[in-house]
Symmetry: C2
Subunit: 756 residues, 2 copies
């Protein structure tokens, strides 16, 4: 495949007569010229292998029956995947853990007054969809790790149930104390909703899918279209994952048979109040029975009712009782030992378990991983010998709380801290644009890979297409046009990279395609083979593209002489985060000043409608100015070393990379692997020591949503000014420390270049 690059065209204009100039491929970061030629050849061979027919067949097999963790078909799938890997000649095994996994025994949602209504809590089978009728094997609609409870109370509608929504309720003079709240899905990860509700005194929580975000307002509903039908329910975990993911009973250690386990009542990540998810068909009678203030305009969904906040008169009975069993999960793992640097591991994962049939989530990613595995096996047969060790992982128990990946990462923490260079994750895959998130030390690397993959719908690279998309969306189009790299998104949580990145400090990527197809079958029985092959990447061409993308990345990482981390993009990105946080502090100060001024001037009282309850906000302490110098100094040190490293690598790669042959690559690579580890601190983030990374974390009050430089940012958001200043010092030191490690790697390269 030829990729159009303006620079290359220019070169051709002048050197068209030298055949070498025409055939010479673009250099590869971390490769000598000769190694790059060989590498490009292997990569081209690899990309020819993935086959859409296989992706189709794997999906059909894996999603044929419900396969949640602990189910018969979950184990069956793991064994089938193991057998496939072995049949391709790969050294695969199953690694099991025994984890707490509650499944519902009793569930009830009833409206007691002003009228009686019993929620159905059941997704009906659809005639055209063969697997939707497998009721005996389907997990009921529920939120895993909801505590048991049997509560009755007045209902209050809390919009998305995020902290700002409760501020709005305060203005309306409405308390949820002793009430059952009903929140809609969206705006935060679902586990945040019961957590914040409990903090405000609620005794129960319902979460429903509003058709505005997830139903007919988006498009025709299943089976006529891909969107959520009236009785469709989003299952999901409500474990307090921002505290720690994985088995609630074994935080920080692998849930092996002999592991020390907490008692159930000691587990911090189980909700404080009972929670159930419901469909919009079940939610409508409850919401319609509310009175009280009309919901603020942004709170209104697409149901054909007037949305009121309550409280009451609707009174609701909510009951949840689970079997709190320990169940076995089955991770499937294979390893390809490295030929040159066996102690540097490139790890790749995708989960295989689903809430029900899970054709989209996760099989549309798991089938891609399998097809990559088959491709690697093919290359091995053709004589390919990766320099680094490659570890492929098909995780179990992701849906409940990243169980399989977290327990495995905790169990192998010591080895992983020593050896893991990069973790590449995928999950559900769709049709459209490449989505790239991850560690910004891999930003330039990942851009290079994306330039080499052809979009299956357009005769251009997926990089070019993504750039076009970002130009079209951007407010500052010139910035996108002029920057050599497209930006990686920062990783929060929500898939299996979490333990690697956040707990262990392993540079990570999360990759997928999407943006052209929508749908509303997430975590429902309708996420199945029928749905996927009618409404998503129906020809599996984007599944193939993802296998080509990730396979290329795995090859390029495992064969490089110097691991292709890059620190200029990283330091520039951290600089943006620092600026954001400084602006956040300034804005919060200004907002507090301004709000206090309005309170003092009687503005809120003057504008309040006396016919409506309105509680003016209270005066707030004005945030002080913070000393950001330690962060700025740390950033300056990082920026300087990033530039030094880049110069050193350029020099080492000059003249076809002759200096690389002289370099102590083992030591340099070891330093490079260490860099991401330097971004962690052993005692982690304030109040949640499991999360050790100081640049990325899922937000304590957003869940999946990322908070960058989280210790500082969240302290500011929560008005913890003293803590913010302390964390600024800690993070500043972290930036200095990674700078020192980068310096060491740069020194290694410089030495090689200086030697004759």
């Amino acid at each position: 495949m030829r990729i159009f690059r303006p620079g290359l065209v220019l070169a051709l204009t002048f050197f068209a007569f030298t055949a070498a100039a025409v055939d010479e491929p673009a250099p590869l970061r971390g490769y000598s010229a000769a190694a790059a030629r060989a590498e490009r050849d292997w990569e081209t061979r690899f990309r020819a292998i993935p086959d859409t027919r296989n992706l189709h067949d794997y999906m059909q097999r894996l999603s044929a029956r419900p396969h949640h963790v602990g189910s018969a078909y979950d184990k069956d799938n793991a064994e089938w995947i193991l057998a496939r890997f072995r049949s391709w000649g790969l050294d695969a095994k199953i690694e099991s853990f025994d984890v707490l996994f509650p499944t519902p025994r009793e569930r009830a949602v009833e409206l007691l007054r002003p009228a009686r209504f019993v929620a159905r809590l059941q997704e009906p089978a659809v005639a055209v969809d063969p697997t939707s009728s497998q009721q005996t094997e389907q997990l009921p609609t529920y939120n895993a790790y909801s505590r048991d409870g049997d509560v009755t109370g007045r209902l209050v509608y809390v919009n998305y149930g995020v902290p700002e929504d409760y501020e709005q309720l305060d203005r309306l003079g409405i308390s949820v104390k002793g009430a059952i709240v009903i929140a809609r899905y969206g705006a935060s990860w679902r586990g945040i909703k019961p957590k914040v509700a409990a903090e405000h005194g609620a005794i129960g929580c319902l979460i429903y899918s509003d058709p505005k975000e997830d139903g007919y307002s988006q498009g025709e509903v299943f089976p006529k279209g891909p969107y959520r039908p009236p009785d469709g329910v989003q299952r999901g975990s409500v474990m307090d994952m921002p505290v720690y993911p994985g088995d609630p009973l074994t935080p920080g250690v692998g849930a092996t048979p002999g592991a020390t386990r907490l008692k159930l009542e000691e587990a911090k990540t189980i909700t404080r109040i009972p929670v159930l998810p419901i469909s919009y068909a079940d939610a409508q009678p409850l919401l319609a029975a509310l009175s009280g203030p009309v919901a603020p305009a942004p709170w209104r969904g697409a149901l054909p009712i007037t949305y009121h906040v309550g409280p009451g008169p609707a009174e609701v009975h909510l009951k949840v009782k689970s079997n709190w069993d320990i169940r076995r999960l089955y991770n499937v793992i294979f390893t390809i030992p490295g030929s040159t640097y066996p102690d540097e591991w490139i790890i790749r994962g995708n989960h295989h378990d689903a809430w029900v049939n899970g054709a989209d989530d996760p099989v549309s990613g798991a089938n891609v991983l399998m097809e990559e595995a088959r491709g690697l096996a093919e290359l091995l047969k053709q004589g390919w010998k990766p320099k680094r060790t490659i570890v492929y992982c098909v995780w179990d128990g992701e849906e409940e709380g990243l169980l399989g990946s977290t327990e495995w990462a905790e169990e192998h923490a010591e080895d992983l801290r020593r050896h893991a260079a990069v973790y590449i994750n995928s999950d559900a895959n769709s049709r459209g644009f490449l989505s790239m998130s991850g560690s910004h030390t891999l930003e330039k690397f990942m851009n290079g890979v994306a330039r080499d993959i052809t979009d299956p719908e357009k005769n251009i690279s997926v990089w070019k297409r993504l750039q076009a998309h970002e130009i079209a969306e951007a407010s500052n189009k010139q910035e996108v046009r002029n920057r050599s790299d497209l930006r990686l998104g920062a990783l929060g949580s929500g898939s299996d990279y979490t333990a690697f990145l956040d707990h262990l400090g392993v540079a990570s990527l999360n990759l997928s395609y999407g943006g052209e197809d929508g749908g509303g079958i997430y975590h429902s029985i309708y996420d199945d083979f029928y749905w996927y092959t009618h409404f998503d990447d129906t020809t599996f061409v984007y599944g193939r593209a993802l296998a080509q993308t990730i396979g290329t990345a795995v090859l390029r990482l495992s064969d490089a002489e110097v691991l292709p981390y890059e620190f200029n993009d990283f330091s520039e990105t951290v600089g943006r985060y620092v600026q954001e946080i400084e602006k956040l502090a300034r804005d919060r100060r200004q907002q507090a000043l301004d709000r206090n001024r309005q309170i003092d001037d009687g503005v809120f009282t003057a504008i309040a409608d006396p016919q409506r309850t309105y509680v003016p906000p209270q005066r707030q302490p004005v945030p002080p100015f913070l000393n950001f110098a330690p962060l700025e100094n740390g950033l300056a040190a990082l920026t300087r070393t990033a530039e030094r490293y880049e110069k050193a690598l350029s020099r080492a790669a000059a003249d076809g990379g002759s200096a690389l042959a002289r370099a102590s690559l083992r030591e340099i690579n070891a330093k490079l692997v260490e860099t991401e580890r330097m971004l962690t601190l052993p005692d982690g983030l304030p109040g949640r020591p499991w999360f050790k990374h100081q640049i990325y974390a899922p937000g304590f009050y957003t869940g999946y949503g990322v908070k960058t430089i989280p210790a500082v940012r969240e302290a500011i958001e929560q008005n913890q000014w003293k803590e913010a200043e302390e964390q600024i010092v800690r993070v500043g030191k972290v930036l200095e420390n990674i700078g020192e490690t980068i310096d060491a790697a740069a020194g290694g390269l410089e030495n090689a270049a200086n030697r004759p």
Copy 2:
């Protein structure tokens, strides 16, 4: 009434021992100290008069039966108002005009396929609401001045039906040629929708009220709450009023019995295609029968369906036939001759006709006008003698196209151009904050009035409450806090000030209270006494506040020695408009450049989903840089004279205003009256000569929505670059001309101050 003012408190701190300092009221613009004392006394007496019981009773009487123009009760109301005025001793009369007023004879909306559905086109009576059952007198649901038509075609949903919506349809590859469009109310005045649809080749137009903007999404529907019920319909005129309002057959002249009339087919303001308004109950089956692309997210309303754009498969039959009758309308007018300046007129108006019972629109304003009239009559009996002539007008035929006010203004154009100083309008009134729009030469005056009116719900002035509201809403709160005057909104169209301001150049104000009560009965049978007394200003205290506000304004204008125009606020406001327009030109240039760049780079093609129709935009000519210097120079001249005038008036008002006694006030006032006239040009705006004002006009493609400096702004918006440059020159000259007139007034005041 005492108004809290920080400055006054400061004064009290130092001078509390001098009784004079305590009792001396704030000076009044255009008044000597002695005259101000007398004036404040009359105003205080006036404000004690308006009585909520009377407002209640007038409303009950006027809205007791349907009273559209041409109906029996419309004439009956006019005669009853006339009798009231005369009973109070006022010199009142009826002035009639004979106007074209179509009423429907046949109406049909039918879905022919894919299923058959016949629209009801009828608002049902509601048991608790006594007047809702007066069906024999109610006008059917229709859009007046829709041409007759009987068409069948495929349906296309066009969102609000404004020009940008058709650009979006172009991108989707959808044409409305030969189709019937269905647009929702909102985003533009209704008459724009059939106009733009016809420009794009549609053969018919339906307009419906979506529950998102006007129905259950806003709040509980009538009769449980104030919002539009499923079968409620918004009647309304679709006359092309941005071309000219008033009788379509007599543009520019009064529709007297002997006036020369156009033939019906010559009238430019009748729609080119048939139009009918429908309820959301009638719209839902039509919208649900559409397929084609799912409507873009901002196009989706609150009906429980997936909104598609079409075209078809829905096929619709639309039929409208009207009786095209000439009907008589009845304006009620009284005059109080001025004692000192009888040739300077202060005019005040509100219409009395309604679409049906119209308790809110217009009776909640008409009753206020009546109570003001009673108050003025009381003062006259007590010996008050206004210096200027006061003319009170109760208009007929406003709803159909400002018929009564336009014909009267056209008939009396010569006198009005000579004598009219200020026109003050009101229309429907509600509960909440003062709403002030109008000529910015009256901004400072109106702020002064608002400071003297007490809000009936809060113990503060309506000015203070409005300021609090604007501080709360503003992005730049300091600007609102620091500016001595709250800004007047600019006037577009939609009520009876239009002929005065836009055609004749009479400085105008439009005033009301609102913002605390919502509702969805606009132009329906449910806008009636039951609704208003259950859901709006139920105790009529804001009706009383409006009578106090406008009555105070009328007194203060009619008694002033120097008319209280002010030109600094005006020139500052025009300066803002000039900046807006320069930014508009820059932005449009940048947008065109950027879009062309994206087209050249293939961005639109690269991001398009091949499974969906997408038509990339065409390359556009890049707008040139424009020469704004003539506008800037005109503005500079205006600004200079505004400052000169302000200094001159301050000097004349010094020492209790002794210089005023020596001034040639008649000449100075005549110059001041002339200023707003200087803002008009005899040949009006490009393509619509009836609209002569060069600062304010209803937008050609927005309808009621204002376009400031319209000739320049609309030329830029429509890419008429040559025309834009020509209009910049014309408007620049207009600003110079008003500057010269202000200079003359300033000179008169300076002469008086310089004389001993």
